[in-house]
């Protein structure tokens, strides 16, 4: 009996174009490649982190067409034409994004491994809040409260346990 998968002639590849941090990139990808592995191994953008590869930790969070997503659960080939922003693209003209400044100021990280995902997730989350999207704890109009941040950011795990400082940083930056 032939083992499953044996006999394939090799990877199926496809050429795709997408914008990453404002730059048009045309790449030939193995169709099995996740967006996360394309960023990290293919494009050298190692800011996005692999913590679990299963969408359970949030360390790989990027913005795809303005919305936060786990890059480990996105197949690169399915994102031709997408606009992707990673942690490397948050700062503009050398100026730190307000979230990045607040993270440093509030010591909202320790080892730093979950940080890129926290930052991209927070940026996406603040946009969702500004767009009026409710969450499970919303009572009336969604507002930037600690409770809302805790609810909406719970997909981003920080094992160093910086949540207290993360909440303070995100609330401060979001209020700007």
């Amino acid at each position: 009996m032939r083992p499953p998968g044996a006999g394939l002639n090799g990877p199926v590849c496809a050429e795709i174009s997408l914008r990453v941090n404002g730059e048009e990139r045309t790449v030939r990808v193995d169709t099995r490649t996740s967006l996360l592995d394309l960023l990290r191994e293919g494009l050298g953008l190692t800011g996005s982190k692999k913590g679990c590869d299963h969408g359970q930790c949030g360390a790989c969070t990027v913005l795809i067409d303005g919305r936060r997503a786990n890059a480990c659960l996105a197949l690169a080939v399915a994102h031709a034409g997408a606009e992707v922003v990673t942690v490397e693209g948050l700062a503009a003209n050398g100026e730190l994004h307000p979230l990045q400044r607040a993270f440093v100021e509030h010591d909202a990280f320790q080892c730093g491994y979950c940080t890129p995902g926290q930052l991209c997730s927070a940026a996406g989350m603040l946009a969702e809040l500004a767009g009026g999207w409710p969450s499970a704890v919303t009572d009336g109009e969604p507002a930037l409260t600690e409770k809302e941040v805790r609810e909406r950011m719970s997909g981003n795990v920080c094992r160093c346990g910086a949540y207290v400082n993360l909440v303070a940083a995100i609330v401060e930056a979001g209020a700007l």
């Binding site: 090799g10 191994e41 953008l45 190692t46 100021e105 080892c111 979950c114 094992r159 207290v164």
Partner: protein
């Protein structure tokens, strides 16, 4: 030279903070040397037995697959016994052990190939369940790192028989898994002269170099271990893990650099964990509440590969004044992965049990839990007889009680929510180990190199401050470089001893540079560390916790945690507060969420991912605050600091469970306290 303002004690932002928030900090797997290839790990599917055959032909037929490694095609290493004897024999000691690896041009090909490797086993009956009546329990020769296995002071049996009040209770904790956010990874490359470089996720570049050199039978100088940034470790990166050995074996096999990372699932098998433990505590006290006897008996596990004896009851030997004390440790070697270091090994689980039992004693004796601890404050270390270099547990308890509003506490009910409060003490040894460091002038500034590892502790920042003060300059003029074994000998980031150890060497190097006026100063702190006077050196703390327990759903919320610590000079209040809070956050997980669930049929942890092994997330954490009292201890090190990386987790779980008892009247003696247990108990 003008004397700059003192930097120690200032809330300097983390010096690598900008790098980290810009995604520029480079971690092990992110090093991609020219020609790098990818390895994927194949794990054993049986818990005990022998590998009869490894068939890699289907994997090798895949385009891009370069090699399939197994025990029958890998060269012999110097290490043949331990977890680092990777692919060295056909024996399988636990489910999940590495039995093969696939090396390929791409990660996708390696992972595809890994699924195609066929391994045939001769399976034997396995034994994976820890039981207090296990017939193979034995008494280890010592417990980690070199403590007596058992102690027996005075006459506990008589003291217990005559005690006014006693408790006799047992506590169970499951396996806890470190789960740093960065999976264990290594990138290895051999140079033409046979030298080996490993970019590794390690808490100790220098000890890792020595260990990797030993395993491969190389001279230490031929090996370099580099780890500029490490994504957490909590002990699990404190020893060399199999991925580093596998990467080097694979790189040698294919003649190219190799990168490998454990998947999150594989981390549960390959990176260590805290052993499940059963602890029996017997306490006796007189009518006033003075402890007359403490007995602390521990049963825990190790593996058949190597012994790991968690020093769970050691803390009980020094914590409180009881004239009669007995502690014991018993192990059983099971067909499981070897337990290893996890944040505050020994103190964390041991103090959970001791501080829980003390709460039970307080209730039985009708004494306030804070006052019971104050009553039993020893004048000197009960075990060694040595004076404490400083001991401010009582000050922490008093300060905490005041800030928390402990006095007059009362359990309350609001609808389905039961409110309660709890307290527990914490402690952790203040150790120091020898280290080398070099300081040199560099243009207008200074460069300091030390083979320290910053795993998120803030070591780089604290060492910058220590160097700045010793050099009498502003910290902006000092660049501290860490994470490279090329910088010399240095101890691991562990045992809360990093800053004290590296800091001593950094201080000495910087002072010598200033005093000698040369361009470079190189020091080894061994003499100073070995010459330190005999004292019992420990940090202390007290944690206060408020919980609410939903009597209908069993949900437990923790609206408030306060930790008050006495840890000598706090080098950086900003990063120190993060360390304390981080430890207490992990303690919440231990109390309420974390649990490795063993499947006895297969012999491994079923819930081996972050969806089912629950670590605390944002929604679990409300108010956690950490403060400290001024403590001036001249017997520690040039900074006057005690380590702070571990003490935060030490008292938290007991404070939580004591609060749950206060709220509900039910004593849960098994961690974590799960909803189903609460519902059943309150029904």
């Amino acid at each position: 030279m003008s004397v700059a303002a003192r930097s120690i004690g200032a809330s300097l932002d983390r010096v690598e903070g900008r790098e980290k928030v810009r995604g520029e900090a480079v971690y092990a797997y992110e090093h991609s040397p020219e020609g790098v290839t990818y390895a994927a790990i194949v794990q054993s599917t049986v818990a005990k037995g022998r590998v009869l055959a490894v068939d890699g032909s289907a994997a090798l037929a895949l385009p891009g697959v370069l090699a399939v490694l197994s025990h029958d095609n890998v060269p012999r290493l110097e290490e043949q016994e331990s977890e680092l004897a990777v692919l060295q024999s056909d024996r399988v000691a636990y489910r999940g052990q590495i039995v093969a690896a696939v090396v390929a041009e791409t990660l996708e090909a390696a992972r595809h190939g890994e699924r195609l490797v066929r391994v045939e086993y001769e399976q034997e009956e396995h034994d994976v369940e820890l039981r207090v009546d296990h017939p193979r329990l034995y008494r280890p020769e010592q417990v980690n790192p070199s403590y007596d296995t058992d102690t027996d002071v005075g006459d506990v049996d008589t003291a217990l028989a005559w005690a006014h009040v006693t408790v006799d209770v047992s506590y169970e904790t499951p396996s806890f898994h470190n789960n740093p956010m960065e999976p264990h990874a290594a990138v290895a490359l051999w140079d033409r002269a046979g030298g080996l470089t490993v970019y590794d996720t390690t808490q100790g570049s220098a000890p890792a170099r020595a260990e990797i050199a030993r395993v491969f039978g190389l001279q230490e100088e031929r090996v370099r271990v580099v780890a500029p940034h490490v994504g957490g470790g909590f002990g699990s990166k404190g020893t060399v893990r199999p991925q580093a050995i596998l990467a080097a074996l694979a790189a040698r096999a294919v003649g190219r650099p190799v990168k490998v990372a454990a998947t999150r699932q594989q981390m549960f098998d390959l990176t260590g964990y805290r052993t499940p433990i059963v602890q029996r505590l017997r306490l006796g006290a007189d009518a006033e509440g003075h402890l007359t006897a403490i007995v602390h008996d521990v049963v825990e596990q190790t593996s058949t590969l190597q012994e790991f004896a968690e020093q769970t009851a050691v803390v009980t030997r020094m914590m409180y004044a009881a004239p009669n004390r007995r502690t014991t440790h018993r192990l059983v070697a099971l067909d499981v992965p070897t337990p290893s270091w996890m944040r505050a090994p020994g103190e964390c689980p041991g103090m959970y049990a001791l501080e829980s039992a003390l709460d039970e004693l307080a209730l039985a004796a009708g004494i306030d839990p804070v006052e019971l601890r104050v009553l039993n404050e020893p004048k000197h270390d009960p075990e060694s007889g040595l004076p404490f270099s400083s001991r401010n547990l009582v000050a922490c308890l008093r300060e905490g009680a005041e800030r928390f509003g402990w006095a007059g506490r009362a359990a309350q009910r609001e609808g389905p929510w039961l409110h309660g409060t709890g307290v527990a003490s914490s402690t952790y040894p203040a150790r120091r180990r020898p280290s080398e460091a070099v300081a040199r002038r560099d243009g207008e500034g200074f460069v300091v190199q030390v083979a320290a590892n910053d795993i998120g502790t803030g070591a780089r920042t604290a060492l910058t401050q220590i160097a700045a003060d010793a050099l009498e300059v502003d910290p902006a003029r000092v660049r501290v470089e860490v994470g490279d074994s090329a910088f010399g000998q240095a101890p691991v980031a562990g045992g809360s001893a990093g800053t004290a150890s590296w800091g001593t060497a950094v201080h000495l190097a910087c002072r010598r540079l200033v005093e000698d006026g040369g361009g470079e100063a190189r020091v080894d702190s061994s003499d100073e560390v070995e010459a330190q006077e005999p004292y019992s050196r420990h940090a202390f703390g007290a944690q206060f916790v408020e919980v609410r327990v939903n009597a209908e759903t069993g949900e437990i919320r923790v609206p408030r945690v306060l930790g008050v610590f006495a840890a000598g000079t706090i080098v950086n209040p900003k990063t120190a507060r993060s360390q304390f809070i981080g430890g207490m956050t992990m303690g919440l997980g231990m109390a309420l969420l974390e649990e490795g669930i063993l499947d006895p049929r297969f012999g491994d942890v079923v819930n081996h991912d972050l969806a089912t092994y629950h670590v605390p997330v944002y929604a679990d954490v409300e108010e956690i605050e950490a403060v400290w009292i001024d403590e001036d201890d001249p017997h520690l090190n040039p900074m006057g600091s005690k380590g702070i990386g571990e003490i935060g987790i030490v008292g938290t779980a007991a404070a939580v469970t004591n609060a749950v008892h206060h709220a509900t009247g039910v004593r849960f003696r098994r961690l974590p306290i799960r909803l189903d247990q609460v519902v059943a108990a309150l029904a």
